[in-house]
C-alpha cells in the first residue's frame, strides 16, 4: 500500500496539494512529483588513477584525460573518490569486485576458481538496481512496463560471477541483453519485424497475383484467399504504424544484419545507448544497467588501434608506459560512450515535463576494481552524472575517507524515496547515506 499517501491523508493533505508541501525531506519531495531514473554503466578492469581522479575537492577541479569526454557536462558531474568495496569472503577480487559491486554482499562458497583466493559461487543477495526496481514497481505511480532493463555490450554469454553484476536475489544472477536486435524485440515486439514485413509485402502480393493467373479456377481460389489475407495484413500494418502505442519517441534504426563481433563493438554500443535512451523516453523502465564486457574482459579495441586484450593490458606494471597509455585510451573510450549517453539524455526533452531527460536521470559509472594491476577494491572510480531531480549538488569533486560503497547505494535509495536502513552486508552500512545534496 501507499504509505506516503496514507501519511499525507492523515495530515489532511490531498495528493493534489503535494507539490506545494514545504519542509519535506528533499528525497521525498523529489520522489513524489518528478520522474527519477538511474542508469548504471559498467566498464571493467580498473582505471589509471592519476589520469582519472581530479586530485582536489570542490567545484573547481580539473578533468584529467580519462574524464575529458565529459567536459561539456562538467557542471553535472560528481566525481567520488575514497569509496571502497569492502566486501570480503570467498572469490578473487575480480569476482567480488563484480558480483559484490551492486549487491554489497558476499559470495557463496562454490566451485568457481579465480586467479587467486578461494573458489566461490553467486552473490548472496539482491543488487541495488533490482532492489530499486522492485520498489518502483511496487507503487502504481512509478510502475513501468519492465521496471528495469539490463543492457550489455559485448558481454560473453556465460553465467559466472565475473559476468553478472545484477542479482534478483541470492543465487539469482540477471543476464544482460547484449544483442540490440534481441533488445528491440523485447522493447517493441513485432513492431520492428512488421517493418521488414511491410517492406516485402508488396513483392509477395505481386508474386501471388502472378502465380495465381497461371492457375485453373479451382486452384486459384486458395491463392486468392491467401492474397486477400495478405491485403488484410497490409491494412493492419498500416493501421499499427499509425498508432504505435506508447511510442512518444520513435524507435531507433537498428542494422538488422549487424554481427555481434568484437570489431562491431563501437556500433553495438551506440545502438544499445540509443535503445536505452529511447526505452527511458518512452517510460518502459526507470532503472537500467549498461554493462560493457565483463570483469576480466579481454576486449580488443582494434578501433583504437589496440590489438592486445584489455585485461591482459591491465596487468602490466605502472612502469610500462605503452601499456598505461593504451589503458588510458581504453578508459577514455568508455568515458566517451558515457558522454554520448549523457549527451543523448541532455538533448532529449523530458516527455511531459520541463527540462531534459538528464535532469531526471542519474547516470552512475561503475568499475569492479580501483586499479587493474593491483586488483584493489579501494577507490572504485565512481562518477555520477545528471540527476537534478535526485537532489544532488553536482559540478563537484568529492574525496571521502575510505567509506564502504554500500553507503553510496543507500544514498541512491534514499534519493529515490526508498529510505533503506541498510543494504547488502549491514556492517558496511554504518554511517548511513553519504551527503551529496
Amino acid at each position: 500500500m501507499n504509505k506516503r499517501r496514507d501519511f499525507l491523508s492523515k495530515l489532511g493533505l490531498s495528493a493534489a496539494a503535494l507539490p506545494f508541501v514545504a519542509g519535506l525531506p528533499a528525497c521525498m519531495a523529489a520522489s513524489a512529483g518528478r520522474k527519477q531514473r538511474i542508469v548504471f554503466l559498467f566498464s571493467p578492469n580498473g582505471t589509471i588513477p592519476w589520469e582519472f581522479w581530479p586530485g582536489v575537492e570542490g567545484t573547481d577541479f580539473p578533468l584529467k584525460r580519462i574524464l575529458q569526454p565529459l567536459t561539456p557536462f562538467k557542471d553535472r558531474l560528481l566525481v567520488l573518490q575514497g569509496i571502497h568495496n569492502q566486501v570480503g569472503g570467498d572469490g578473487d577480487r575480480h569476482m567480488r569486485g563484480m558480483s559484490c559491486l551492486l549487491t554489497g554482499t558476499e559470495l557463496f562458497p562454490g566451485n568457481i576458481q579465480g586467479g587467486s583466493d578461494t573458489p566461490a559461487g553467486w552473490a548472496k543477495g539482491i543488487s541495488i538496481d533490482q532492489e530499486l526496481k522492485n520498489f518502483l514497481q511496487g507503487r502504481e505511480e512509478t510502475r513501468t512496463r519492465f521496471g528495469s532493463l539490463e543492457f550489455g555490450v559485448a558481454v560473453p554469454n556465460r553465467a559466472d560471477p565475473w559476468t553478472r553484476m545484477c542479482y534478483a536475489g541470492p543465487n539469482q544472477p540477471v543476464a544482460p541483453v547484449d544483442d540490440p536486435r534481441q533488445m528491440i524485440r523485447k522493447l517493441y515486439g513485432q513492431v520492428k519485424d512488421r517493418e521488414t514485413v511491410s517492406s516485402v509485402i508488396d513483392d509477395v502480393r505481386e508474386e501471388l497475383g502472378r502465380v495465381s493467373r497461371k492457375l485453373g479456377a479451382g486452384d486459384r481460389a486458395l491463392l486468392d484467399q491467401h492474397l486477400s489475407l495478405v491485403r488484410d495484413m497490409e491494412r493492419q500494418l498500416e493501421q499499427a504504424a499509425k498508432e504505435k502505442p506508447g511510442s512518444a519517441y520513435p524507435m531507433p534504426e537498428i542494422d538488422p544484419d549487424i554481427e555481434l563481433v568484437n570489431d562491431n563493438t563501437p556500433r553495438i554500443s551506440r545502438m544499445q545507448i540509443d535503445l536505452l535512451v529511447n526505452a527511458l523516453a518512452n517510460d518502459m523502465a526507470r532503472i537500467t544497467t549498461l554493462q560493457y564486457m565483463r570483469s576480466v574482459g579481454q576486449a580488443r579495441m582494434s578501433w583504437l588501434g589496440i590489438e592486445e586484450g584489455h585485461h591482459g593490458l591491465s596487468h602490466e606494471p605502472d612502469g610500462n608506459a605503452a601499456a598505461v597509455e593504451q589503458l588510458i585510451r581504453i578508459n577514455e573510450w568508455f568515458c566517451g560512450e558515457l558522454a554520448y549517453l549523457v549527451k543523448r539524455l541532455a538533448e532529449t526533452p523530458e516527455p511531459g515535463s520541463d527540462g531534459s531527460m538528464l535532469d531526471h536521470t542519474l547516470v552512475v559509472w561503475l568499475n569492479e576494481l580501483g586499479k587493474g594491476n593491483s586488483h584493489t577494491l579501494e577507490d572504485i572510480p565512481f562518477v555520477l552524472v545528471g540527476g537534478k531531480s535526485h537532489g544532488f549538488r553536482t559540478g563537484r569533486s568529492l574525496m571521502f575517507n575510505k567509506v564502504a560503497h554500500n553507503r553510496l547505494w543507500l544514498t541512491l535509495a534514499h534519493a529515490m524515496g526508498h529510505p533503506l536502513g541498510t543494504f547488502g552486508t549491514a556492517i558496511h552500512c554504518e554511517g548511513g547515506p553519504l551527503q551529496l545534496g
Binding site: G110, N111, P156, D160, L229, D257
Partner: protein, 792 residues
C-alpha cells in the same frame, strides 16, 4: 501425355487398369477385377439402370441429394466410397433407407447400387477430383524445408546414425578440460558412455590402466555426440549435479549457445537446472555436456530429458550417438494445426493465423541467418569487404534458389540479386521475402514442369522437404527424365533419416498415436499403470515399427502378424513376459495371441476407457484403418454410460445392448465384431481369459467390402484377414499414399491405387519398396491441371 515422352516410352506406362490386369498373375487378376470394378462398370450398359435411378430419386435423394452430394442435417457426407456393387447392394439392403429398412432389397438394392456406383459413388466418377489439388506446404513441410535449406550450406542433413549408441566421454584429471600434453595423456582418457547418470561420491570415475589423475579433489568430463529427437515438439533437458556443468543442445556456439549454464555451484549442494528447446522430429542434433569438480567433496551428474508427451527420465542410450553432428536451424514459431479431416495433414486451407505464423517463421529464419551470416556464407576473417559482400550475395541467391526449388540462369540471378539486395535491401529482407513467397509456399503452383518439378515433388514425397544438393545436381543436369533415373534417386533418398521421419509421421496418423496423449487409467484397477509405463509402451511400439519397416524384409504382413512385443523389465512384468537383460528386447508371446499393431498394448490402451476396454473405439479404428472400410459418422451421438447397465454384464454384452438399434447396426455390424475380437486384452492391453468371472467371447463375423462374410475367432484371425485381404492391403496402400502425397490417391487417376497395390504384392509386401513406388508416382505424376500444363 507429356510425361510419356519423358519416361522414354511410347505410351503411358499405366494406361488404365487393363495394362495392370494383363501383367498381373492369375490370383491377383481376380482381385484387380474387384478393385477396378468402377472402371469396367462405367463402360457397360448396366441393366436396370433407369430403374436404379428412379428408385434412388424416390427413396434416397431426399437425404443424399440428387448427385449423392449429401443434404445438410440429413446425410452430411457425400456418397463416395470404394465398395464394389455387390457389397454396396448388400449394405443398402441391410441399412437403407434408415427410417424404413427393408424398403429397398434384392433387385432394387442391386439396381440402386449399380446406378450410384456408376453415377457418382465410385472413385474416378467425379471428374474434378481426379487430379491433385493445389496445396500449400504443411507445417512439418515448412519446418523441414527451412531446416534443410540452411543445412545445405553446412554439408546437408539426414545422415543416419551408425550402429554405435551413447556419448563420447572425455575424462580429464584437471578441472579445465585439458590433460598434460607432456605426460602423453596419462591424466586423461576417452570412452563411450551409455548415458550420463553418475554418482562419483568422493572419488574419481573408474580410471583405465595407466591413467592417473593428479589432484584428489578435481577432474572434468566432456560428453559429446548426437541426440535423436523422435518427434517434433518441446523437449525439456535437466542437469542434476553437485558440481559445475554446462549443456549445449543443437548449438555449436560454445561461447554463448548453451541451453543450461550450471557451472556455478554453491556449498557442493545438489541442484537441478533445466532448459527447454523445440526440436523437429526425426533429426539428430548435436549435444555436449561439460562437467567439472573443483575443491568439493562429492561429485555427481545426471542428464535427463522430458520428450513431448513423455516423462522425465535419464536420456536413454538408444537416442544417443557418440559421433559429431551439425547443428540444425529449427523454426520455433508456433503454427495453427493443418487440416486433418481427411485423416492426414494437408495444406488445403489458409487462415489469418496461418499467414501470421508463416510471416513470423520467415522473420525468425531471417534473424537466424543474419546471426550466422559469416558461417553460412563462409566469410573468412581475412576477406576484404568486397569479397565478403560477394560471398554474402552469392549465399543469398543460393538461399532463394533452394527455397524456391529451382535455379536461376546467370542473368536472371544477377537481375534478382540487384532487385532483392540492391538499394535498401538486406539479407534479412531477402530471406523474409523468399519464405513468404508463393514460390516457397506452393511448390505445385510455381514449378515450371521439368526436372526441377520432379525433384521438388520427390523431395516432398520422401522427406517433406526441399531437394538436397545431389537432387538439385540431378535436376540441373537433366538426370530426372526417365522413370529409372527418378527411381534411382528415390532409392538413394530412402536411406535417410528424413524418410524415416516421414514414415513415422504416417504411423502417427495411421495408428492415431496422438490419442495416447489424453490417456489415464483407473488407479484402483490398474495400479501398475503410470505415465512412465505409457512412455515405455510408446518406445516399445516405435521399436517394433522401426524393426519391421527398416529390416530387410520390410514386410507389411509382419506389422499385423508378429506375435512378439518389445519389452523392458517394467513392461515385461506387467505384460506377463520373461524380463529382458537390459533395455528393450523383442519377446515372443504366442500364447497370448498377439498380432502386431493390432494387439500392441499402446494402441489397446489408447483405444479403451480409463477403467475398461472399448470395443467401439477399437472397432472403429480397425474398420477404418486396418481392414480398409469406410464408416460414416453415427446418425446420433450416443454416449456409453457404464452406470446405465446391469453391473454383471460384460463389456461385450453392454455394447451389444447399446447398439442393437437398426440405425446403429448399419455400421456396428462391422464395428462390433472387430472390436470384440480384441476383448481378450484389457484396458491396458494385458491378456485376460475372463471378464467378471465369465470367459471372454472374442468370436464374431462381419461382411467385408467385397460382400464376403468373414468369421473371426479373435485378434489373430482379424490380423490374418487384414494381412491377406486385398481390400485391407489396398486400404493400407491408400492411407500411406495420402500421407506421402498429401493428396488422395484417386487424384492420380483411377488406376493408380490398383497399380501400387499390384507392385506391393509383387514385392512381397515390402513397405519400403511401396514408399519408393509412391514417391516415383508422385514425382512423375502431372502437376496441377493448369492452363499452362494444358497447353503442353
Amino acid at each position: 501425355m507429356r510425361r510419356a515422352n519423358r519416361c522414354g516410352k511410347p505410351t503411358r506406362i499405366f494406361n488404365g487398369s487393363a495394362v495392370g490386369v494383363v501383367h498381373a498373375p492369375k490370383m491377383e487378376r481376380r482381385i484387380m477385377g474387384l478393385l477396378v470394378w468402377a472402371a469396367v462398370a462405367g463402360t457397360l450398359p448396366a441393366s436396370g439402370a433407369d430403374r436404379g435411378e428412379a428408385i434412388y430419386r424416390k427413396l434416397c435423394a431426399e437425404c443424399h441429394g440428387p448427385g449423392g452430394e449429401g443434404v445438410d442435417g440429413k446425410a452430411d457426407h457425400p456418397l463416395r466410397g470404394k465398395l464394389a456393387v455387390p457389397a454396396l447392394a448388400s449394405k443398402i439392403e441391410r441399412t437403407m433407407p434408415e427410417d424404413n429398412v427393408g424398403a429397398c432389397v434384392g433387385e432394387d438394392a442391386r439396381a440402386v447400387a449399380e446406378y450410384i456406383h456408376r453415377a457418382f459413388y465410385a472413385p474416378g466418377t467425379q471428374g474434378e477430383s481426379a487430379r491433385p489439388r493445389l496445396a500449400r506446404l504443411t507445417v512439418p513441410q515448412v519446418r523441414n524445408s527451412v531446416a534443410d535449406i540452411i543445412a545445405d550450406f553446412r554439408g546437408g542433413s539426414g545422415r543416419l546414425p551408425g550402429p554405435e549408441r551413447g556419448l563420447t566421454g572425455q575424462y580429464f584429471g584437471r578441472r579445465g578440460f585439458n590433460g598434460e600434453k607432456e605426460a602423453a595423456g596419462k591424466d586423461k582418457f576417452k570412452r563411450v558412455d551409455p548415458g550420463v547418470w553418475f554418482d562419483f561420491g568422493t572419488g574419481f570415475p573408474s580410471l583405465p590402466e595407466g591413467v592417473v589423475f593428479p589432484a584428489k579433489d578435481e577432474f572434468s568430463i566432456r560428453w559429446e555426440g548426437g541426440i535423436l529427437a523422435p518427434v517434433t515438439g518441446e523437449y525439456e533437458f535437466m542437469v542434476e549435479t553437485r558440481n559445475g556443468a554446462m549443456l549445449w543442445v543443437n548449438n555449436h556456439d560454445w561461447e554463448g549457445g548453451h541451453l543450461i549454464d550450471a557451472r556455478v555451484a554453491a556449498n557442493n549442494a545438489s541442484r537441478k537446472e533445466s532448459g527447454r528447446i523445440f526440436l523437429v522430429g526425426g533429426r539428430i542434433y548435436p549435444i555436449q555436456l561439460e562437467f567439472f569438480k573443483y575443491k568439493e567433496v562429492e561429485a555427481s551428474i545426471r542428464l535427463s530429458w522430458k520428450p513431448p508427451q513423455g516423462v522425465l527420465e535419464p536420456v536413454p542410450t538408444r537416442v544417443l550417438t557418440p559421433h559429431w553432428t551439425q547443428e540444425t536451424m529449427v523454426v520455433n514459431t508456433p503454427f495453427p494445426a493443418d487440416d486433418r479431416s481427411a485423416g492426414y495433414e494437408r495444406g488445403t486451407a489458409v487462415s489469418p493465423e496461418w499467414l501470421e505464423a508463416v510471416t513470423d517463421a520467415a522473420m525468425e529464419t531471417a534473424d537466424y541467418v543474419t546471426g550466422h551470416l559469416n558461417d553460412l556464407a563462409k566469410v573468412k576473417k581475412e576477406d576484404s569487404p568486397g569479397a565478403r559482400e560477394k560471398k554474402i550475395r552469392d549465399f543469398a541467391m543460393d538461399f532463394v534458389e533452394r527455397a524456391w526449388r529451382c535455379d536461376f540462369p546467370g542473368e536472371r540471378r544477377a537481375e534478382l540479386a540487384e532487385q532483392l539486395l540492391g538499394k535498401g535491401g538486406s539479407v534479412k529482407r531477402l530471406v523474409c521475402f523468399a519464405l513468404s513467397s508463393p514460390r516457397f509456399l506452393y511448390p505445385a503452383a510455381t514449378e515450371p514442369e521439368g526436372d526441377w518439378a520432379v525433384a521438388s515433388r520427390l523431395a516432398l514425397a520422401l522427406w517433406d522437404s526441399v531437394p538436397d544438393q545431389r537432387l538439385r545436381d540431378a535436376a540441373r543436369q537433366g538426370h530426372l527424365s526417365t522413370r529409372e533415373e527418378v527411381a534411382k534417386e528415390a532409392w538413394r533418398m530412402i536411406h535417410d533419416a528424413r524418410a524415416r521421419a516421414k514414415l513415422n509421421g504416417f504411423f502417427e496418423h495411421w495408428l492415431e498415436l496422438d490419442r495416447a496423449a489424453q490417456v489415464s487409467k483407473d488407479r484402483k484397477r490398474f495400479p501398475q499403470f503410470s505415465p512412465g509405463v505409457l512412455a515405455d509402451l510408446r518406445t516399445s511400439l516405435d521399436l517394433f515399427l522401426e524393426d519391421v519397416v527398416w529390416s530387410e524384409a520390410s514386410d507389411y504382413r509382419r506389422l499385423l502378424l508378429d506375435d512378439g512385443l518389445f519389452l523392458n523389465r517394467r513392461l515385461a512384468e506387467i505384460y506377463g513376459a520373461p524380463a529382458p537383460d537390459d533395455g528393450f528386447a523383442r519377446i515372443s508371446l504366442p500364447a497370448q495371441g498377439r498380432a502386431g499393431v493390432v494387439t500392441h498394448p499402446y494402441l489397446l490402451t489408447s483405444f479403451a476407457y480409463h477403467d475398461n476396454t472399448s470395443p467401439i473405439h477399437r472397432g472403429v479404428f480397425l474398420t477404418r484403418h486396418i481392414v480398409g472400410m469406410r464408416l460414416k459418422p453415427p446418425p446420433e451421438a450416443i454416449k456409453f454410460e457404464d452406470s446405465r447397465f446391469d453391473p454383471h454384464l460384460t463389456m461385450r454384452e453392454k455394447v451389444t445392448e447399446l447398439t442393437r438399434n437398426q440405425s446403429c447396426m448399419g455400421c456396428h455390424a462391422t464395428i462390433n465384431p472387430l472390436g470384440f475380437s480384441l476383448e481378450h486384452f484389457d484396458a491396458i492391453g494385458r491378456w485376460r481369459a475372463r471378464e467378471k468371472e465369465k470367459p471372454i467371447v472374442s468370436k464374431g463375423e462381419f461382411i467385408d467390402s467385397t460382400g464376403t462374410e468373414v468369421k473371426l475367432s479373435g485378434a489373430r484371425d482379424l490380423a490374418v484377414y487384414a494381412a491377406e485381404s486385398p481390400v485391407a492391403q489396398a486400404g493400407f496402400v491408400a492411407q500411406l499414399f495420402d500421407h506421402v502425397a498429401k493428396q488422395p490417391v484417386e487424384a492420380y487417376g483411377p488406376e493408380t491405387l490398383d497399380r501400387l497395390w499390384v507392385s506391393f504384392t509383387r514385392s512381397g509386401f515390402k513397405i519400403r519398396d511401396l514408399l519408393v513406388e509412391m514417391a516415383v508416382t508422385q514425382a512423375l505424376g502431372s502437376g496441377l491441371s493448369s492452363p499452362l500444363s494444358a497447353q503442353r
